[in-house]
Symmetry: C2
Subunit: 334 residues, 2 copies
Amino acid sequence: MKRLYNSPDAVVPEALEGLVLTHPELLRMRPDPTYVARVDAPVAGRVALVSGGGSGHEPMHVGFVGPGMLSAACPGEVFTSPTADQVEAAVRDVDAGAGTLLVVKNYSGDVMNFEMAAELLAADGVATETVLVADDVAVEDSTFTSGRRGVGATVLVEKICGAAAERGEPLARVAELGRTVCARSRSLGFALSAGTVPATGRPSFELADDEIEFGVGIHGEPGRERRPLESADALTDRALAAVLADFDQDDLSGDVLLFVNGLGAATPMECSIVARRAVRTLGARGLRVSRSLVGQYMTSLDMLGVSVTVLLLDDELTELWDAPVRTAALRWGR
Amino acid sequence: MKRLYNSPDAVVPEALEGLVLTHPELLRMRPDPTYVARVDAPVAGRVALVSGGGSGHEPMHVGFVGPGMLSAACPGEVFTSPTADQVEAAVRDVDAGAGTLLVVKNYSGDVMNFEMAAELLAADGVATETVLVADDVAVEDSTFTSGRRGVGATVLVEKICGAAAERGEPLARVAELGRTVCARSRSLGFALSAGTVPATGRPSFELADDEIEFGVGIHGEPGRERRPLESADALTDRALAAVLADFDQDDLSGDVLLFVNGLGAATPMECSIVARRAVRTLGARGLRVSRSLVGQYMTSLDMLGVSVTVLLLDDELTELWDAPVRTAALRWGR
């Protein structure tokens, strides 16, 4: 393994520290149990948003903490769920009395630990709602998942629910919007090579020189099939075909948000090449890409690959997407 | 070469097309000669900013076109200077009569072609000023350069001069600010592995498993030396020592902007780990990191490595850095 690390054990805490040190105006970190919170949380009168998951997917979730998105994020070790303790402590810190939305990717450990935290909090009178993200159309069950895996739509849920919370929507409405985003999103990713797990120093799976993993999970879980490497356009179309086939076909019209996500080692040029084809192919299907997000937002260590997410927009989702956000990884103003 | 491309020849035009298709609210592209411009350029009463250079360094420069930064960017082929034609056409398009600042990285081809364009424009009464960026302390002359290479400070010059132009400063003042940024910036990069040139499908240089190129150029040019691979902290300190040694030592106090730039394949975690050490080491030298930029902003295809840039801030540079910007790659509001 030839990487820019100090020691495999220190990768997660040092990366967190680096993020917080370079964003002191946005972030504060608490250790034991570890979480990263907005400096200004709790924000009076506003629903809080807490997410988390295994590390190795940066900038998700810690890079999405800030005004207009998450109140706090709970990072686990690499590819390991955060503990219930972390989630409970984070919610207690950032909840302002208006309740907290938990955004949970559908992996068994995450689901269990967020549920446990929610029960402990409920016993103490802290209201939570959970949005479970399960947008990956690749497989129905997977290594760490019962049901579909949660992938790219998580970023969209966090952005859109964060904007709703920021404008003062109540907990039930913020949760409803999150579920709407989930219902209107589908994703699929593919890998040309695996990420290298710091603890082992080895790729999490092996592919031949002319082979890809189609439908790969963000922890290197197997996808639908191993296939021959094809051109960027062919792979993009193949991913989009799987994504679009999974929607109710009557819903496939109008404006969409296209999210082309680099899984770690895809370069900006590669992400743009995929985005180009995706815009054209969606256009040919009568879908207009009116909003897009292209870049590395949910990685899998240094995996070479991308995932493609399509969200069917409506006016409210578009307005919430466009609302200002100020985080380490996603930032725009009016 | 296992990459997400269609054909090596198509990498640059397809990536440009993808960028423009996903940012129609910001960008328009013109072919033959090729450049990417702000949709709203020329902007009456404002100095224009035009930059450019070889492709393979995305998001630089095309990702920095938009309000508060560049008016237009001229991308060459991979690692190849843009032609004088491209620069001339871009300036004619975006110049609003208040003159145009040319931001040029110090590579012989770039310098020659921007100079030629400036002469053609001058003959036609279009005023330009040039800021030549040469911030890389690694070596004094290099493969494509007489004098120092221009690297990370280019992004800072484009942001700060773009903000100055946006607030209505005249050409001479915008150029002066750009030269101030150059005078107050130093950079150094290092690579654990080389980028893969699309046309050849091969890495631009070879390193042993335990070896790095210290002071590497963004086209894979040799640096100061090949050294053993060390920890992220040791490499960060080594790069910073070279950067800081090059400043007038009496200037080393107060606030700095730290720019940790991923060269293509460095993950967000790796960039954060480097940033963590850099903030601490600069702090120990009496320099406070009051602003930072951490991520992939000036890549070298899929090179695994980072560059570190330090800019000595003052109040005006800080204010211009903080000014709103809206581009594909760099975006924030008030």
